[in-house]
């Protein structure tokens, strides 16, 4: 209450300060320039160098990797052990007529690489083309007896090794054309995603297996933008189509046991705009969309449909206003609305599990949500040393068939920027967030058997308090020091069962050094702790067990760059990073039992030397070392637990090395 009072007092002070009048903020936009006496025709630029033609660098890389775990491919860009080659480029072209082009390529030829091209005439048209290959590696030795072939998971006699990795190949093409007040644009993107990912199937025993992925996504966006002196507007249409080439999965003795991700498509039409009236700016957007899914359903007895008419209509709107009342005082606010209306029809489908209401049949429950938001904020600059911002945000969420039909979040926040001390900037941020809502009740449709004491964490009453302090010190031009400390606490005060509280706190320190013209360096360190508590009830009554989850993260890093050696021909650099993620869970049920190890750590070291062979040519030798270890107590051997088949122990423990030699040629 006291806090609220102070905020109100400060706001009133701020408003009164503003009204007593201070000059309007300056606008130095070239369109506001007083050019009455300018004789631009006699402007000269004899000393201006004219850069024309091609500039930039082009390079080739040859690398050698030594690793016994494909997971290192995440850091190296490819999982292939041994030699590899790739290409880099960073080229620019421009000419007198105003044509320009830009081409960038990075590690082109590896499993993770990209190329980007922009070409056109400034202020008229531009063509953009993109290509990217993106691969993520989970494990090279998942063990499975199930092999996918043409919709059937065929059990093999012996367990075989399988790779779990996903690869995306993306290509895009965009074109824009415009003149003074309009611009029309269109962009098309295609993505193919392939690989295998960890999943599980009920046979009825649970069996983990490598789920094949082979899907294509096509996106098209087109629009028209118009601008005037004080307004801009944009009309945009977006359509996206997802096609899954993997159908329903069957076992030889169990037909269509696993439904594929269905094909879907989405459309959205949006109109947005901005209008500026002196120092008041209004902006808004209205977007109407549809998500459609009518893929064929698996045919089985008790399924009345060939395909479901899944369709979600969305409507999103926002209107915001911000006004620079004076050069010291700003007021702003916004309202927003978002609706998800699931129009899919409701049918009864036979289930393998019997529930208490309809027996073996169950109705699907299309979910609707509606969100309304309100934000108001004010900021006041007392002088060049102190600036205060404060605001109030409210979010109301309504949902159909939920355990709680309505929730609302009210947030009060304030930020204070202090520059009163020489070379020191301080920022403080605090917020109080309170979530409440309608009566919490177990919904018959969604959770007929839930314990009435349970409060789902995303619906439950919650009080969140958060603070953040930032300190930036630049004592000299060659040294900068940043320190941040954070604390946040979530208190689910009405929850007896479920997540009851969570505390998240930490700090980080970043140091930047420019010791001389040639030597620069950095170092950083950070830690974060997240401590949560939840309760459960085995006896379907009051809490009789609890879990304490203690997460800790440590991050350290340092690096340097040394240029100017050997008559400016040689430069050296190095980067080191250490990250350690830990999550310890303690379960208390009569006695407290710690769960096993669940942590990962990574040392990453990169060293490089650049040597200029001539003004145009350079060689770079780089070495990268990756030490990675992770462990998870849930990772167990294929048949450790009777009745459960896993993919085996997928933990990682490796040392991996990469040496790369690069040759680059600079165009001038």
């Amino acid at each position: 209450m006291r806090f609220k009072f102070n905020l109100i007092t400060l706001s009133l002070l701020a408003i009164s300060g503003a009204i007593t009048g201070s000059a309007m903020a300056a606008d130095f936009g070239v369109n506001r320039a007083n050019t009455s006496t300018v004789k631009q025709e006699v402007f000269q630029c004899k000393h201006c160098p004219q850069v024309e033609g091609y500039t930039g660098t082009i390079g080739i890389n040859a690398a050698y990797i030594e690793s016994d775990d494909i997971h290192s491919g995440n850091a190296f860009g490819t999982d292939s052990d041994g030699g590899n080659a790739s290409m880099d480029a960073d080229l620019n072209y421009r000419n007198e007529a105003g044509y320009k082009a830009k081409f960038q390529a990075h590690r082109l030829g590896l499993d993770n690489g990209f190329a980007h091209l922009e070409a056109g005439k400034s202020g008229q048209y531009e063509l953009v083309a993109d290509y990217q290959q993106l691969t993520s590696y989970q494990s090279g030795d998942a063990r499975s007896q199930l092999w996918y072939n043409d919709g059937v998971l065929t059990p093999s006699e012996h367990t075989q090794t399988q790779e779990l990795s996903l690869q995306r190949n993306k290509a895009g093409l965009g074109l824009s054309y415009g003149r003074d007040f309009y611009q029309a644009y269109v962009r098309y993107d295609h993505e193919n995603k392939t690989g295998y990912q960890s999943s599980s199937i009920v046979t009825p025993r649970p069996v983990n297996f490598g789920l094949p992925v082979d899907a294509n996504t096509d996106n098209l966006t087109a629009g028209l933008s118009l601008s005037g002196d004080s307004w801009t507007t944009d009309l945009n249409y977006f359509v996206s189509q997802y096609k899954n080439d993997i159908g329903a999965l069957s076992l030889p003795y169990l037909y269509d046991v696993f439904a594929p991700t269905p094909d879907n498509e989405a459309h959205q039409l949006s109109l947005s705009g901005q209008y500026q009236l002196n120092r008041t700016v209004m902006s808004g957007r209205l977007a109407s969309g549809k998500m459609i899914q009518d893929d064929d359903l698996i045919q089985m007895s008790g399924n009345p449909l060939q395909n479901w008419d899944g369709e979600v209509e969305t409507l999103d709107g926002k209107l915001s206003v911000t006004s620079l009342v004076s050069n010291k005082f700003r007021l702003g606010g916004s309202v927003d609305y978002s609706k998800r209306d699931n129009k899919g029809s409701v049918w009864e489908f036979a289930q393998y599990e019997v529930n208490g209401i309809t027996g073996a049949f169950k109705q699907n429950v299309p979910l609707d949500t509606e969100r309304r938001g309100l934000k108001v904020n004010a900021s006041y600059r007392f002088n060049s040393d102190y600036r205060l911002q404060a605001g109030y945000d409210r979010k109301e969420m309504e949902r159909s068939h939920g355990d709680r039909e309505q929730t609302n979040d009210d947030v009060l926040w304030a930020k204070l920027n202090v520059r009163a001390l020489d070379d020191i900037k301080l920022k403080f941020k605090a917020s109080l967030d309170n979530r409440g809502g309608s009566e919490y009740q177990t919904s018959e449709l969604t959770s007929s058997e839930a314990n009435p004491l349970l409060r789902k964490y995303y619906l439950a009453d919650r009080a969140r308090t958060a603070f953040e302090a930032k300190f930036n010190h630049t004592p000299t031009s060659w040294l900068s020091l940043d320190m941040t400390a954070r604390y946040a606490k979530d208190d689910y005060d009405e929850t007896q069962l479920g997540l009851t509280e969570s505390e998240d706190y930490g700090y980080d320190i970043n140091l930047g050094l420019q010791l001389d013209e040639h030597l620069s360096g950095y170092a950083f360190a950070g830690q974060q702790w997240i401590e949560s508590n939840q309760t459960g009830s085995q006896s379907f009554s009051a809490p009789d067990w609890s879990a304490d989850i203690e997460d800790e993260f440590i991050n350290l890093g340092a690096g340097f760059t040394y240029t100017g050696l050997m008559e400016d021909k040689l430069s050296l650099g190095g980067d080191y990073l250490f990250a350690n993620s830990t999550s310890d869970t303690l379960i208390t049920y009569d006695v407290t039992t710690p769960q096993g190890d669940y942590y990962s750590f990574n040392h990453s070291l990169k060293l490089h030397a650049n040597y200029a062979l001539s003004e145009e040519m350079a060689l770079k030798l780089a070495y990268q070392y990756e030490r990675y270890y992770d462990t998870d107590y849930a990772q167990i051997d294929v048949d450790t637990v009777p009745g459960l088949t896993t993919l085996g122990d997928l933990n990682h423990n490796y040392n991996a090395h990469q040496v790369m030699l690069s040759f680059s040629y600079q165009l001038r």
């Binding site: 911000t322 949560s532 939840q534 999550s583 450790t640």
Partner: protein, 317 residues
């Protein structure tokens, strides 16, 4: 001999530093407060006393400064581009009218960057004079604008390549302030940000947007669907928290848990599922049974994002 040499270098260094400090302090407008400087520049801007020869007037003194000359390597220094400042009022398009700045250097010019005392909103008015286009439509209400972030805090135009416009360096710029997110990308699971295969601007618009957290797409879920189109659905059997907000279970910036989950299974699932059945069961030893071992709850409920199987109401098939 060696020591003498070092001492000489040190003295030279101190002298050079002192000269540099003096030269910086020598600028008369360094004594002004930000507001006084802003007012003086506003008056000068209104008077509109531009130079007679444009860029050549400026380069008379500044041509030996590499940083100044680097403007010609980029688009802002390209006079052959009709909409470039160099094709218009040249240096003075951004730095304001010359006035008497070249007569003893007593008058300030509009300056940018960390050393500039000019308030961010006045610095930004220069950039917005030209870049007031639909891409910057939400700038004025954006948190960066409200926090008085100057365009030049992120952008550098006196260069052939603005680091923030390069996929390989943009994350460094963002994380120089957003240090929590810099740490998050090194956690056990995260998007491939630390290798610059994804960038902050793939999801967020630093110039603001009409969506929460300055997201590029309309909602949190729409942002996730832009890459994870398979999650878009809708599907026959929906999982309510998934439909409502992906961030109910995932932290997209990174987590100490696998799959960027805020908590791991079974604990995460048991924060919402406490039925009169196996969901309430205490899992005391993670790897000892099918409730805690392997994929835990997902051993059976693998279609956790929703199922399109007619008999998939339990998200099992």
């Amino acid at each position: 001999m060696m020591n003498k040499c070092i001492i000489t270098k040190l003295l030279c260094g101190i002298f050079a530093f002192a000269c540099l400090s003096l030269s910086v302090q020598a600028a008369p407008w360094n004594q002004l407060t930000g507001e006084q400087l802003e007012q003086q520049l506003a008056e000068k801007f209104a008077q509109g006393k531009y130079s007679k020869k444009g860029a050549d007037s400026c380069l008379m003194c500044h041509k030996k400064n590499d940083k100044v000359m680097a403007i010609f390597d980029g688009v802002h220094g390209n006079s052959s581009q009709a909409d470039s400042p160099m094709a218009g009022l040249q240096c003075e398009a951004c730095h304001g009218p010359l006035g008497k700045h070249n007569k003893g250097g007593k008058e300030p010019m509009i300056a940018f960057g960390k050393e500039s005392k000019l308030p961010a909103q006045s610095q930004n008015s220069v950039c917005l004079g030209c870049h007031n286009d639909p891409k910057q439509m939400a700038w004025h209400s954006s948190s960066h604008n409200l926090d008085e972030v100057a365009c030049s805090d992120c952008h550098n135009i006196h260069t052939d390549k603005d680091p923030v416009m390069d996929q390989l360096t943009v994350n460094d710029t963002c994380t120089s302030c957003h240090t929590q997110q810099k740490s998050d990308m090194n956690k056990r699971s995260s998007h491939p940000m630390k290798w610059d295969r994804m960038t902050c601007i793939d999801c967020h618009n630093p110039h603001g947007s009409m969506s929460e957290s300055a997201l590029n797409h309309t909602t949190v879920n729409d942002t996730c669907y832009s890459c994870h189109t398979e999650k878009r659905g809708p599907v026959l059997w929906e999982h309510a928290p998934v439909t409502e907000n992906c961030a109910n279970c995932h932290n997209p910036h990174g987590s100490v848990n696998e799959a960027m989950l805020t908590h791991r299974a079974p604990q995460l699932c048991q924060q919402c599922h406490m039925d009169d059945g196996h969901a309430s069961r205490v899992v005391q030893q993670g790897g000892s049974d099918a409730f805690g071992g392997g994929k835990s709850c997902l051993n059976c409920h693998s279609q956790i994002h929703g199922s399109n199987h007619p008999a998939g109401s339990k998200l099992q098939r």
